[in-house]
C-alpha cells in the first residue's frame, strides 16, 4: 500500500465553550494575579505609523441576538501592508458582557499585494464547534482587484465583509452567524 505523504490528521477542534475568557482573557474574566495583562490588548503601539481607527461590532446568532460570550481575534498587516514582528497586528477581543459589542482600536491596514486592506477575524464561542474565519474590508476602498472578494459568487454577499464608516475614523462591522445577511466565512 502506498504511504500517504501527510501521515497525520489535524487534531479535531472542539467548541471554546462558555468560559473561553478564563483561559484567553483571564483578567477580563476576573481572574487576576496570574498574568500581568491579557494577551492581545492592543494590536499596535500608540506610536506605530498609520491612521488610527476604531471598529465596533456585534456577533449575531440566527435569531439576531448578540453573542455576549464571544471571543474574537484579529490579525492584520500594518499601514505599509506588511506583517510586523512578534505579536504586532494581533488583538484579542472580548465582547461587552451586557451588549455583546466588541471594539478594536487599531491602524488601518495597507494593501497586501493585490489584496484590498483587510483584517482577518477568528471567532469562537459556545455553540461554535470550529472557529470561524472571516475578513473585514472597508467600504469605499477600491476592491476591484481583491482575489478573495472576487471569488464570492453571490455578489450581494460581498457587503457582509464590508465595515461601514460611522464618523471620523470609526467603523462598524457586524457578523451574522446564520440567516438573513449571513456573513461569508472562509474555508482557509
Amino acid at each position: 500500500m502506498v504511504q500517504h505523504l501527510t501521515d497525520l490528521t489535524e487534531t479535531a477542534s472542539q467548541t471554546a465553550g462558555p468560559y473561553v475568557h478564563i483561559g484567553c482573557t483571564p483578567n477580563f474574566a476576573g481572574i487576576e494575579g496570574i498574568y500581568k495583562e491579557d494577551l492581545g490588548r492592543q494590536p499596535y503601539p500608540e506610536d506605530a505609523p498609520g491612521e488610527r481607527i476604531t471598529i465596533t461590532g456585534q456577533v449575531l446568532d440566527g435569531l439576531g441576538v448578540p453573542l455576549r460570550d464571544v471571543m474574537l481575534e484579529s490579525w492584520q498587516a500594518g499601514a505599509d501592508g506588511t506583517f510586523g514582528p512578534g505579536a504586532q497586528g494581533f488583538a484579542r477581543l472580548a465582547a461587552d458582557q451586557e451588549t455583546g459589542i466588541w471594539t478594536l482600536n487599531t491602524i488601518k491596514p495597507g494593501r497586501v499585494g493585490n489584496q484590498s486592506p483587510h483584517i482577518a477575524l477568528w471567532i469562537v464561542a459556545r455553540g461554535i464547534n470550529i472557529g470561524l474565519q472571516t475578513r473585514l474590508y472597508f467600504e469605499g476602498d477600491d476592491h476591484s482587484d481583491d482575489p478573495v472578494l472576487n471569488r464570492i459568487e453571490h455578489r450581494d454577499r460581498v457587503r457582509t465583509l464590508m465595515a461601514r464608516p460611522e464618523g471620523q475614523a470609526t467603523w462598524r462591522f457586524d457578523i451574522r452567524l446564520q440567516g438573513d445577511g449571513e456573513t461569508v466565512f472562509l474555508d482557509i
Partner: protein, 236 residues
C-alpha cells in the same frame, strides 16, 4: 508556505442538533474555499519572555498555596501533519476545578470553588515541540443541554502555530472516562478516530511516585506545503 487545506471530515460538524447551542450559532451557507495567502500564513509570535515562573503550574499559579485535587502532569508534543515538531507554539489551557466548578460568575454549579485554583495556565513548546503542564484533574459536571447531560472531565486547549490559519481550540479528555461516550459536545465529531485522538492515555512513564499521575496529549496542527526558494530557508 501554503497551508494544506483543512480536512473538515476530521472536525466536528458545525450544525449538531444534539449540542443545542450550535443550532442558532452555525453558518448554514457553504464556506468560501480559498488557498491561503500571507494573511493566513503569518501569525503572532509569542516569546518565552511572556511567561512567568508558574504559568504552566495550575496547582500553584493562582495563590501559591496548592490547589485541592488529584495532581496530574499533562504533556505531549505539538506537530504538524508531516510529523514535524512545532517549536514556539503558545498553548493556553483552562478548566474546572476538582469538583467540576469553573471560576466564573456564570457557573452556578453547586460544587465549591477552590480558593487556590484559578483554572488557567500557559506555556510555549520547546525545540522538539514538547510541552508540560502541572494541574489538578478537573471534575465532571452537569450542564443544561439535555435533562441529565454531563461533561466528561476535560481541559480546554488553545494553540497558536506560526500561522493564523493554524489557529485551533480543542478539548482534551482522560482515558477511561465513561462520560466521553455520552457527551453531546464530543459527539459533534463524526469520526470515532478523531474522537480517540482527543483522549489522552495515562502515561506512567512520566508519573511522579507519591506525587502525580501523567497523561499524554499529542496535538497535530495543519501542515504547510513546503516550497524551496533560493533566497529563504525552508519554512520561512
Amino acid at each position: 508556505m501554503t497551508l494544506l487545506p483543512r480536512n473538515r471530515a476530521a472536525h466536528p460538524v458545525p450544525y449538531a442538533p444534539g449540542y443545542k447551542s450550535s443550532v442558532p450559532r452555525s453558518p448554514r451557507l457553504p464556506l468560501l474555499s480559498l488557498p491561503t495567502r500571507a494573511t493566513e500564513e503569518t501569525g503572532p509570535v509569542f516569546g518565552h519572555d511572556l511567561l512567568g515562573e508558574h504559568d504552566n503550574n495550575l496547582i500553584l499559579n493562582f495563590t501559591g498555596t496548592p490547589a485541592i485535587g488529584e495532581r496530574v502532569i499533562l504533556h505531549g508534543r505539538v506537530m504538524d501533519q508531516f510529523g514535524r515538531p512545532v517549536p514556539g507554539a503558545l498553548i493556553e489551557i483552562w478548566q474546572a476545578n476538582a469538583g467540576g466548578r469553573y471560576r466564573h460568575k456564570k457557573d452556578g454549579y453547586l460544587a465549591p470553588l477552590d480558593d487556590n485554583f484559578g483554572g488557567c495556565g500557559r506555556t510555549i513548546t520547546d525545540e522538539a515541540g514538547a510541552y508540560e503542564f502541572l494541574t489538578i484533574r478537573p471534575g465532571a459536571y452537569p450542564w443544561p443541554n439535555g435533562v441529565n447531560d454531563w461533561r466528561p472531565a476535560h481541559v480546554h486547549f488553545s494553540l497558536f502555530g506560526p500561522s493564523f490559519g493554524q489557529r485551533l481550540i480543542t478539548q482534551m479528555y482522560f482515558e477511561g472516562d465513561p462520560l466521553i461516550a455520552r457527551c453531546p459536545i464530543v459527539a459533534t465529531i463524526p469520526d470515532p478516530q478523531a474522537v480517540d485522538r482527543l483522549v489522552a492515555p495515562l502515561d506512567m512513564t512520566r508519573a511522579l511516585p507519591m506525587d502525580c499521575l501523567a497523561y499524554r496529549f499529542d496535538i497535530v496542527l495543519r501542515g504547510q506545503r513546503q516550497t524551496m526558494f533560493e533566497n529563504r530557508p525552508e519554512g520561512f
